[in-house]
Symmetry: C2
Subunit: 122 residues, 2 copies
């Protein structure tokens, strides 16, 4: 299994789900999962989805610029993403960067243990 | 030990060392450490320092905008940084984002297992 291919497939799946149906992201997190969103710390699949679905915009489109990945030790994989986020009705896209720590599930898939998101304003 | 305080102390130490004496960063990496620098994958303390010291600028100054951290499982800590990089003689600073996976050493300190760096051009 090529880690870069897994990372790319995860990223495609994550952002297409985010842009089409944010509530569907819940399957990617578990109870021990952590999200830090613009500095706000949130834990657990249910709370994370509540945060993501309550963001103050309805439609958005992520465009991915770079995807990097490394094994994190203990079977996990770190995925580092940069790109832009276009909100419906806004003229300018926002730059963002985000990192995920993916951990294997017993079913041979991955879940998101760690997720840190930042807009790159400055 | 407050993880946010450890992350902040690491970030201060890392970038002040980078800006003053890049070769001094070697102590923070080990043989299994990985750096992905603008997509280029490098492994091991010696190769990582060779890369960092060969970057095509002499003097630089990092300014840190945000530092986020989360426990990574297995005793490690993920540190996610955004900021700007000012190169000597250049008018405009470059935005960057970088993530570190810090792992504990037997001496009660940390070393960098994973390091992913990206300039945010777009």
């Amino acid at each position: 299994m090529d880690p870069d291919a897994v990372a790319k497939a995860f990223v495609d799946h994550y952002y297409s789900t985010f842009d089409a149906n944010r509530a569907g992201l819940g399957n990617l997190y578990q109870e021990g999962s952590m999200l830090t969103f613009e500095g706000q710390k949130i834990q657990g699949s249910q709370s994370i989805v509540a945060k993501l679905t309550s963001l103050p915009f309805q439609q958005c489109k992520h465009n991915i610029t770079t995807v990097d990945c490394q094994p994190s030790g203990a079977g996990g994989m770190l995925v580092f993403v940069s790109g832009t986020l276009q909100l419906a009705g806004e003229q300018h896209a926002l730059k963002f960067s985000q990192m995920f720590h993916l951990m294997p599930t017993p079913q041979g898939s991955f879940y998101v243990l760690n997720d840190i998101f930042r807009l790159n304003y400055t």
